[in-house]
């Protein structure tokens, strides 16, 4: 494997990422210029040719900057050698997206679930199927202690009685088996009331609240069945849930489409509405759909991500920060390298189960019947397909292996790859481009905050 350093400018910061080690360096102008011109192996002395190439700077300044870069090189934090990481597939399933409702009380224009039905009949999951699904998860989880179940749809609160029963069943079985389920839920909020809010806040370790940002954007996309906007109905409910939630995790989560490429304004609108845990993501739709993101939109989206990053830096300095899910990165700890290599785990560690009990590699594969892996009622499960999905990751993918953002991305979304390219291991370039820009923004924010904190500490 080779070494790789990615240098870039973003939000007024000059940054170098040493890909194999994960070290992030904030550079002076001279150091940035030098890094454009050198490659390993580095010599201890500053090359004469470099002094000539950078003659616009004082020779001693060039030598000093080179010396600093050389020290990092010797320390293994610059031009480090990439490694071969191989983790044998464990065969366990530890995480489940439980489609308790293939029905919805909204008609969002971009919904990949097709108003909840996923191209099939609208249906709610029975308690029996739900229990069998949880049994499947417990059975397949091997020695893993921490399990996850996301109540998903459609709209899961349309089947709230079953949700409540399944949580009780899961709690009883986890005690019996010495495991722990982290329940999460993704809801459009329409049916939230005091009872459901209190139940969710008591039992669910994370809750994802769907809202698109500005009222006019939300109401153009997210409507009730009669076509009326949903913003005014859901906003107070989301606020109430968050106010009562305490320290437990939650996100408001929106979608942007071709119709709101100025989506930074939607993120900011959510922050201004009082939410500080925010995720707004690009729509997933067939390229022929007028709402779909096209490659020609990328320059505009890049500018928008950068506008958002600058606003986040500004608000941090003003003492009113907020989190944007795709800009979150823990440079000191974060996930281990194996997690970074295997990505989301869809089809191997993570599966989705439909109201019929059918098992799919993840919630986004549910519309593709050829990708059905089995059924929790008849006990079938395609282990060969599970093994193939377990091989999906950055080490087995020649495109990902060469990408500087691989340890941040984890190999991309297998469902998007399948949907757009017909193969789970063929990266969909638009999503790759978006991810690379988001990582640059995330690192630039870290650089700007570090600079601000250093100045403040003086």
């Amino acid at each position: 494997m080779t070494s790789c350093v990615h240098t870039f400018k973003c939000c007024g910061q000059r940054v170098a990422l040493d890909v194999p080690s994960g070290a992030v360096h904030v550079l002076s102008e001279i150091a940035y210029e030098i890094l454009q011109r050198i490659a390993p192996p580095l010599e201890p002395e500053c090359p004469t040719s470099l002094r000539y190439q950078l003659a616009k700077y004082e020779s001693s300044d060039v030598a000093e900057a080179y010396g600093e870069l050389y020290a990092l090189y010797k320390e293994g934090l610059l031009f480090s050698e990439d490694q071969e990481y191989k983790m044998p597939p464990t065969g366990v399933v530890k995480s489940m997206c439980l489609h308790v409702s293939h029905d919805c009380n909204m008609r969002c224009r971009y919904c990949f679930a097709g108003a909840g039905g996923y191209t099939r009949d609208r249906k709610l999951m029975s308690l029996e199927v739900g229990k069998k699904a949880l049994d499947f998860l417990f059975e397949k989880s091997g020695n893993i202690h921490n399990l996850e179940v996301d109540m998903f749809g459609g709209e899961p609160l349309l089947n709230f009685d079953v949700v409540r029963e399944l949580v009780a069943y899961g709690r009883a079985r986890e005690r019996e088996l010495g495991k722990k389920i982290a329940f999460t839920i993704t809801t459009n909020g329409a049916l939230l009331d005091d009872e459901t809010i209190d139940f969710i806040n008591a039992e669910f370790s994370n809750v994802v609240l769907s809202i698109d940002g500005r009222k006019e954007v939300n109401d153009r996309m997210r409507t009730f069945v009669d076509g009326s906007g949903t913003y005014d109905a859901i906003l107070p409910k989301f606020k109430k849930l968050v106010e009562r939630r305490g320290e437990r995790d939650w996100y408001v989560r929106g979608t942007f489409t071709r119709e709101n490429l100025d989506f930074a304004s939607d993120v900011i609108a959510l922050a201004d509405a009082g939410f500080d845990q925010i995720s707004v993501e690009p729509v997933v739709l067939d390229e022929s759909d007028p709402l779909a993101i096209r490659s020609e939109d990328l320059p505009r989206i890049f500018k928008e991500y950068e506008r958002l990053a600058r606003e986040m830096i500004r608000r941090y300095r003003e003492g009113r920060p907020f989190n944007f899910f795709h800009f979150m990165v823990d440079l000191d700890d974060g996930p281990c390298v194996y997690k970074r290599c295997k990505g989301c785990g869809s089809g191997s560690e993570y599966v989705a189960v439909t109201p019929d009990g059918d098992i799919f590699p993840c919630h986004q594969f549910v519309e593709f019947m050829p990708m059905k892996m089995g059924n929790v009622l008849d006990g079938t499960f395609d282990k060969d397909l599970q093994k193939k999905f377990a091989e999906h990751g950055i080490m087995t993918n020649p495109v990902c292996r060469e990408c500087w953002a691989k340890y941040f991305c984890g190999g991309g979304c297998a469902a998007n790859n399948y949907k757009y390219n017909g193969a789970v291991n063929t990266p969909y370039e638009i999503t790759c481009e978006l991810e690379r820009k988001r990582v640059e923004c995330a690192l630039a924010i870290k650089a700007a905050i570090a600079q601000y904190e250093e100045q403040n500490s003086k």
Binding site: L72, P335, Y338, K339, F408, T431, E435, K446
Partner: protein, 53 residues
Amino acid sequence: MKNVKTLNRSASLIKRAVGAGCGECQASCQSACKTSCTVANQKCARLTKKTDK
């Protein structure tokens, strides 16, 4: 250093590969995305547990 500020000098993915890969962490798509990739914003379950104590 005058020309280079390293934000995470103690971090090294290479060093942290030793003894890692326990599989107890969250599936990334379960956190807040559901439609796109990202793993670097996830938490290590082992480190989180240590912090919680």
